[in-house]
């Protein structure tokens, strides 16, 4: 006969969501304590894709370690590389040429759009709408094609080097980006038509996964997750790097603290990113794309911290140097790790179906959490 279903001593049902589960988008493992359909506790178990990138970087030179970080948050690989390049440049005091800075920012924003597009599709799939996923991929493919042409790869571009970018822009780059922007503008309302305005979607998102402002700060949430709770935390605004202080864009803040706010923040961020790209695409200054650097980079003894705004939040790179060619200790403060820790707080008391929606709005990328 049927064995007794696994329960804990309180008679609650324990369910393992993951490591292989359609909603975890990777190998996240959540142990969920359920009372009926209501969640009592969510306990993440990590490490299924831990590659110890921090340890690995300790044996790589300052030129080499950048490529490894593409594999952390593979959806915003370019921005990860940017953080590392910034940190090395900070230590070496390399002046990045104006052209390289503009190229970097354009690429960052394109990456952000691509990442948010994928998130939009995946999140729609989490709550049961399959069609948006494919529509999202159409836009993302266009960006990937642009990336492929200039950087030579679609996902892990490895286009950043300390002191600039690896190669100059492809001659067709501006034309293609403009074509993409005009194409994208005809499709941007689709998100509202298919999901945002939909009554089922609204009911699924409104008022679930509440993360108050205090909790968001206490849990160290950053990025759209925290901005959906009304925390002002866009690194591009509060600690501007590269040329972000000269650009016109708004920091998107929603004060709803729920899943819908986090969703709306990301959708509006796409528009802000488009705005940045539009500002820059016609104004790429001439000049070098790379500063002259020594063949072997040696960071002076000391500690260096740089942070950037990835699509998921604040990525910090903390390098402790002993003056050698390799970092002595390197720490990546990944946004996903902190955001995930708030999941338990958000999920308690809501239904199992909402957990999936919440995970969707957190935009979890598991390699980013595990590193």
């Amino acid at each position: 006969m049927v064995e007794e279903i696994g329960t804990n001593t309180d008679g609650d049902l324990l369910i393992n969501v993951g490591p292989q589960h359609p909603a975890t988008h990777g190998v996240l493992h959540l142990v969920i304590t359920l009372n009926g359909e209501t969640i009592k506790k969510v306990e993440p178990h990590l490490g299924y894709i831990h590659r110890s990138i921090e340890k690995m970087c300790e044996s790589l030179t300052y030129r080499q370690f950048i490529y490894v970080t593409s594999r952390m948050d593979y959806l915003s690989a370019h921005i990860n590389n940017h953080a590392c390049a910034l940190c090395v440049e900070k230590g070496m005091q390399i002046e990045v040429p104006a052209r390289a800075q503009v190229i970097r920012v354009i690429m960052d924003e394109l990456t952000r759009i691509a990442s948010h597009e994928l998130w939009w599709g995946a999140m729609a799939m989490d709550i049961g709408a399959f069609t948006p996923f494919f529509h999202a991929f159409r836009e993302r493919e266009s960006i990937n094609d642009i990336m492929e042409e200039t950087c030579g790869a679609r996902l892990t571009m490895n286009y950043m080097v300390p002191g600039g970018v690896m190669a100059d822009l492809h001659p067709d780059f501006q034309k293609k980006v403009k074509a993409f922007i005009s194409f994208y503008k005809t499709k941007i309302d689709e998100a509202d038509e298919l999901l945002t305005g939909n009554i089922i979607f609204q009911n699924r998102m409104k008022g679930v996964g509440i993360l108050t402002k205090e909790d968001a700060i206490s849990y160290g949430c950053t990025g759209p997750t925290a901005r959906g709770s009304g925390v002002r935390c866009d690194i591009r605004k509060i600690y501007p790097y590269e040329i972000y202080n000269t650009l016109e864009f708004d920091e998107v803040i929603e004060t709803g603290c729920d899943s819908l706010s986090r969703y709306l923040v990301r959708l509006k961020e796409i528009k802000q990113s488009l705005r940045i790209v539009e500002q820059l695409i016609d104004n790429i200054p001439e000049g070098d794309f790379q500063a002259k650097t020594k063949a072997v980079l040696k960071l002076p003894k000391g500690e260096f911290y740089s942070r950037v705004e990835t699509a998921r939040g604040e990525l910090g790179v903390y390098i402790v140097s002993e003056g050698g060619t390799t970092p002595y200790r390197i720490k990546f403060r990944s946004p996903g790790f902190s955001n995930l820790s708030a999941l338990d707080k958000m999920a308690r008391g809501s239904k199992l179906g909402d957990l999936v929606a919440m995970m969707g709005t957190l935009d979890l990328v598991i390699p980013d959490i595990d590193r």
Binding site: P44, H45, L46, G47, H50, S52, E54, K55, S59, K90, D215, I217, S218, Y219, G220, T222, V231, R232, C233, I238, Y239, G302, E303, F304, Y305, E314, G316, Y318, V320, Y328, R329, K331, R333, F337, S338, L340, S341, A342, K345, D370
Partner: protein, 153 residues
């Protein structure tokens, strides 16, 4: 807040703290036993309000372990300090601050398994990333040697 102001303010809170101003931010070194009350003061001080702990990590200096806490405030983003606490490498123990900053819970668990630092009064000090039943050295320590190293193979 300027580094000097921060320094004055922190000296008021903890007289034994030592400072290092070479980095980008003010580095404050305190004793492990002072850490928890000091953290409470940093968090609840009406002027400083260090409510945002954005990075917790540990450095293995081979002779000692150093816990590094990066603190900032959402009220005044220019307030940033780096708190460093040196620990005995053979028996690293420190009070957990997860009651003050919730984010520390996960970060401390990560440091616990990677460096073997014991966090006292941590609500749930278990392995987070390493597989259950991991035995042997903590992987991020400098004298850890991975038996399977793809690059050196």
């Amino acid at each position: 807040m300027e580094k000097e102001e921060l320094k004055l303010k922190i000296t008021e809170l903890n007289t034994t703290a030592t400072f290092d101003e070479t980095g980008e931010w003010l580095n404050v070194t305190v004793d492990a036993k002072d850490w928890l009350p000091f953290a409470h003061q940093l968090r609840n001080d009406p002027v400083l309000v260090f409510n945002y702990l954005f990075c917790v990590t540990c450095i293995d200096w081979k002779t000692q372990l150093t816990m590094v806490y990066h603190l900032s405030s959402t009220h005044d983003r220019s307030n940033t300090v780096v708190i460093k606490i040196n620990l005995d490498r053979n028996n690293p123990e420190i009070e957990s601050v997860s009651s003050i900053w919730k984010t520390a819970e996960f970060h401390e668990r990560e440091v616990y398994e990677m460096f073997g630092v014991k966090f006292l009064n941590h609500p749930d000090l278990r392995l987070l990333i390493l597989p259950d039943g991991w035995e042997g050295k903590n992987p991020m320590l400098k004298d850890f040697d991975d038996p399977v190293n793809m690059i050196r193979l």
